[in-house]
Symmetry: D3
Subunit: 212 residues, 6 copies
């Protein structure tokens, strides 16, 4: 069937990339410099399907801690396949009484799906400090707009599990308590910018490992 | 405690928005015009927490059909709270032997989390037509770069459930078979642009309801 | 000089827009719907230079309040000329001992120029809770990356004035204390998501006008 | 063939949009408000293939004018199908000695393909005022980076035709001479901001129809 | 004229970039890492006008193949000057009976100008699988929204030539047939995700060089 | 207090970044390659608060030159902390009779705050060449939309100072006179694309140091 060869020939001729480049994706190569748009790309020839698959979200997070919760991220820094693709994911385990304290994601919006259990979740808008919160049940979805303070806690009587996604491969996570009390920001300064009492600040600094 | 009033006064004075506008979010109002960036915003005063919560993904999709699969979207058109927030979600039910036929999302990348079951998923890159596919188990995550052909099917022996997210509130879904065979695109034209045989085209047009 | 007429003719013929549309700018028309990208545009024929000029930042903010500070915004909601242009501005007045409590701008980065006085300013990064803060003097510039908690306070002995700009026409402003204590978020819930003591929460709710 | 009905049933059930919305495209509806991202969308049900096809670029521009050139745009304001799609096109006719005077496109980069004739084209970079210009022949392509001053003129001895595309549906076109001399900007002011002599300014204002 | 020197002095003093950096453009340097936003930039000092000019689109594509068509791209991988500029171009040669089979560009919209001949072109929308197609004549322009399946074929009786542009420097090109049949995707899997018959799949795999 | 240790443990366990990466910011490292989105990032471990503070805008620009004006930029090339953050700043000193000649910023919009003095500022829109200009006094703000020709000059009788911000870390600055007359663009070519007289072009080339 000589007709096959010409088409096959076409298959390679019709459109050929130079430089062996594939810009369909940009799997992060952490050994190269990163820039404002994300990490540099791994050479396409070295990319395999395993770069696009991540299994750590299948493992229950260890909630044996005081907040009884664990966030397991699949951001670009953990899951290089999402680099440059405008999204990422995380697993949220909440034991009974578990809570993800009030926090923001500086770089993206979040959407949450309740896989198991009952979760009370909410966020606060920036202008009028309006609060939007609700108890979510298995199968419910809630969205948290970019950069706004929000929280999730287990409001049921058994462990809860949620899968959350973000509109950025590197959304960041800034837990307000950790930002204020888990570092060397001087207590006097914390008090000045939060109106909190000195005893309260020092108590939380002690709990969260902060100094100063 | 006269000191309370002055601060309270500050609370309203320190920063006040005119026009009662909140640009933290833009819940879709389908009665107003839409534009390239999405739907117009519902007036903030009418927004409630229910605009940010969606429960339809908690309901198992009806897979009692020939492909034995169902995609239940929570895109901006169904879930107005995600409008303008750069993400959306969907539920994917795959009965035994269920398949989501090869398709693309013209407007965004996708990330998938396997909630239950075993799913074989893959995508094809654009330059060298390289195929990346793998069997995914409960808890596995896979990412599908924007605009590329991809598929998912149940490769296990019990129903499978996945939650997928997108990097756009309106990613779109274009199933190749439906695009080719479920409309009035003339058979001769389909054949010309696909190299498929006339009998094959007519068979699938009949199955999928296409005419011409 | 008959040669003038033909060129003049060219001036109108060389390039003509239909619909009298000018997309160089999009001055906000608050009477029309807004969308994810901002407000709708005022008709170009009604736009004057005054739409691009704003004088309220020339007026010293009233710092006669307990935080001894005032933020005067020129965001799109106040200054319609910046709508769609990717930036905005604000004036920051800090009396002696004045402070802008810890806060975020959900929608943009900030850059600050000290016009008068001495200001201590800082921000906290999201991953390791690293603190970056410094005393700024007249003429100093500091940049605060998008979405991160930051603060400014007068660390001198006379009033301070700063001009700040943002990378968005509607960056938002979320002061953590107001978000937590100036609304109807129940005290028990605040305590759960902040680890703060009940007495501290109730004290600040009282000061800032919160209920619940 | 009862098997056909179920699949057909699937075709409509597998994925259904509410609100009859199609966000694949956003054909401009000039009767609705426009915003920073472009014009509002025509209702999908009223969209036809003719919204995506434009024939005015097939007509030679009238170069019977002093600059002996004509730009025929297919921007969103003329060709509503490109609204929201991130690109547009124009036709450039250059009679012998024709010139498109130095100009910028405030909103996008430009790429030019010479269909017929010989065109000298160039641009000037912003930092070191480096000039990049070259004579282009039939089939040559040249790119002009966003916002930079550039020009094209016929450097051959027969009419030239180029097709140009832009990285925006509304790139704008600001011809420096028209911006300076074809309006009511007072001559003294023009002279102050250009260093041009009074006689030169008045001569060009007369030619281009400016006043003041 | 000693006055010249001071101004000249001003010319260099008024505004000086450090680091010899020019961010007006970013000509691709393929020897450096690439990232999600494109290739790294060639040092400005080494950039010449030839980096912004590309001549390969002036050469007729070889259509001596079974599809009787050839796409000659000027994407960033071939034409480094467009890197980072938000656009690119390609030449489309269609011999009599030539066809560009149904395909997508994962990364951008396309606009086509018919230089010579008659071309039937169309695309299919994602939600209702609506088909938009039309016969285009010399001078006609058609736009194809991002990520949607589309096709072009010569519907006249002489060769046709089109110039197409894209809203991305690296739009990609995914021809559905090549994605399905020109690689090692197993036939059984292709059949599962396309509903095509085994004989049809194997026939096309043979024609297009696929294995499995 | 054994309760402290567990929470402290949580503080490090709850969320941990791999690769020591911080994507909250991307301080420019000029020793690494740059790309379309900006400069590569300095390693987070080497970043200090001084990377986010810049003091050069506190120093009055030397206006002892013929235009009696000085622009002191704090763009990414001078102030690496703004890299990737979507904004930058500059200081504008205008002695009596000082002028910033007509110019554009190819990469961003500008907002100006008058710190001292009286400044006449304006811009010209692209379609109808409409001029928008006004005298600004201390405290006034004016915005200049992206890519449009604009100017500022001292219209008072004492020195003026303005702080300007941009919607890009690298907005660029193209002064029309310098682009036309301060380089080696041949006079005949300048005349062809500007309609200026030969004597005028040669006079300005001499003043601004241009050749050819």
């Amino acid at each position: 069937m000589e007709m096959y060869l010409p088409i096959l020939f076409v298959a390679s001729l019709l459109f050929s990339y130079s430089h062996g480049s594939v810009l369909d994706f940009c799997v992060a190569d952490f050994s190269l410099p990163d820039g404002p748009a994300g990490y540099s790309c791994k050479k396409p020839a070295k990319v395999t399907v395993n770069d696009f698959v991540y299994s750590a979200l299948g493992i229950a997070g260890d909630t044996n801690n005081l907040i009884k919760a664990k966030v397991t991220p699949a951001f670009a820094a953990q899951f290089p396949g999402v680099n440059g693709l405008g999204l990422s994911m995380a697993r949220l385990d909440l034991a009974v009484d578990g809570v993800v304290p009030i926090h923001t994601h500086p770089g993206g919006s979040e959407i949450l799906f309740v896989v198991e259990g009952t979760i009370c979740a909410g966020f606060i808008s920036s202008s009028a400090n309006t609060v939007y919160f609700k108890t979510l049940y298995k199968g419910d979805v809630m969205v948290f707009p970019q950069g706004l303070l929000h929280f999730q806690f287990n409001s049921g009587n058994k462990p809860a599990l949620a899968i959350v996604s973000f509109s950025s491969p590197s959304p960041g996570l800034q837990i307000t308590d950790f930002a204020l009390f888990a570092n060397n920001l001087p207590s006097a300064l914390v008090e000045k910018v939060t109106f909190l009492d000195d005893a309260q600040v020092k108590k939380l600094k002690a709990v969260l490992g902060g100094t100063g």
